[in-house]
Symmetry: C2
Subunit: 244 residues, 2 copies
């Protein structure tokens, strides 16, 4: 898993300064949309894949989850999670999403925020998630939107007449992408939206909701820079359900 860039000290310092790291879930503008997809967590067992600093694990524990297992490939992230988001119901564990086999039929919800686009073996991961879910269990996750990950040069450009455009190319060419982020080279996987959805269907999930996140008018009023996010989507949010 390419996520080990999270153990790079320079990258980690930059990551720690992001609003979504420093302020937790409320620092992530797509969080209200993702939260709206969640089932009731009271008394439930939750698996958080790529738990990072543990902000969601702590949210789930406060929302009444009976048990939360947060896994991440980065020891540095897990150490920070244990410091700032410890809770009696939460266990943090180091694991690689590419290979880890989770306890069988043990969870009511598998959650993941912005981690699956680092995973190469996505269909294999979905089979392992399906096996970890109890019948009728939910899978709710976000990934980078493929429009965001596709381009050769993923940065805004300006047209002669002053419009902001996103220079899309290679959308239909799936595979590795490498970008400069927070002073490091970050390797991720570009997958079509169709590929993500069909992989879920092939793994036996029923699709329940798909969101291409856009900022609300209120969010743009509070943070005008978010207006650009209406020109191309940054996040894809999906809710799916295992068979009952």
């Amino acid at each position: 898993m390419a996520g080990t860039v999270y153990d790079d000290p320079t990258f980690f310092a930059g990551y720690a300064a992001l609003p979504r790291s420093a302020s937790g879930l409320d620092g992530a503008p797509e969080w209200p949309a993702l939260r709206a997809m969640l089932p009731d967590l009271r008394g439930r067992a939750v698996l958080d894949l790529g738990c990072g600093y543990g902000w969601f694990a702590a949210f789930a524990a406060r929302a009444g989850a009976a048990r939360v297992l947060g896994v991440d490939v980065s020891a540095r992230m897990l150490a920070r999670a244990a410091q700032i988001n410890a809770h009696a119901a939460i266990e943090y564990r180091q694991a690689d999403l590419e290979t880890e086999v989770f306890a069988s039929a043990a969870f009511d919800l598998v959650y993941s925020s912005l981690a699956f686009h680092y995973v190469a073996a996505f269909a294999d991961l979905l089979a392992r998630i399906r096996a970890a879910l109890r019948p009728g269990g939910a899978l709710v996750f976000s990934v980078e939107h493929p429009i965001y990950s596709a381009p050769t040069a993923p940065a805004w450009r300006e047209t002669e007449d002053g419009r902001r455009i996103w220079p899309l190319d290679r959308y239909l060419v799936e595979g590795p992408r490498e970008v400069e982020w927070l002073g490091a080279r970050v390797a991720k996987r570009h997958r079509l939206m169709a590929t993500t959805l069909n992989a879920l269907l092939d793994a036996g999930f029923a699709l329940e909701r798909v969101e291409e996140w856009a900022p609300s008018a209120a969010q743009i009023a509070a943070r005008p820079a978010l207006a650009a996010e209406r020109d191309r989507p940054m996040f894809l949010l999906v809710a799916a359900r295992a068979p009952s």
Copy 2:
């Protein structure tokens, strides 16, 4: 419905010259992908929404469909369909997809190629389609991909270093789009992929397959201009199923 541009003589002459009009289904490069989503048609009742020249209706009749109803808003298209794609099992009928109420629980397959992006009342249309399907019936359709319909200026651009890019903007801004096509102004609706899929889920359909069409290597070898279609998707293909 904006489809009445199909009754404009200048537009109609241009449309008649397109490979997909002149050569039928084999002139449409996405047809093999759409055909792969179809159920067995033998003995089935089929409703084709936006049937145009009747190429699909004729295909369905030849594939053994017991009955095919092809509807289109354009009298000119229907007249041509009756000329070149008549068959004992096919009935052609003029109807507006925005408002037409179809026979209840009368069809095993509702099919539509590149018509729904002209329809404003999409959720309403889906409710009428759902009512027209027998239990477990299939809905298979294509629309323009929202990446294709979104931009203010939907045409390829070239970067300083000679790369071809698609100038995406306004992807998250849904609503009317008007483009110049075949010498006419054509009005269509830009809808997010998520909106299309959630509308199906809200109407009670289960999603079975989603494809963002890309040309195969063999198709590009035969028609090199298709290579551009790997940079941004033109067509979205969806297969869904009504509850049993």
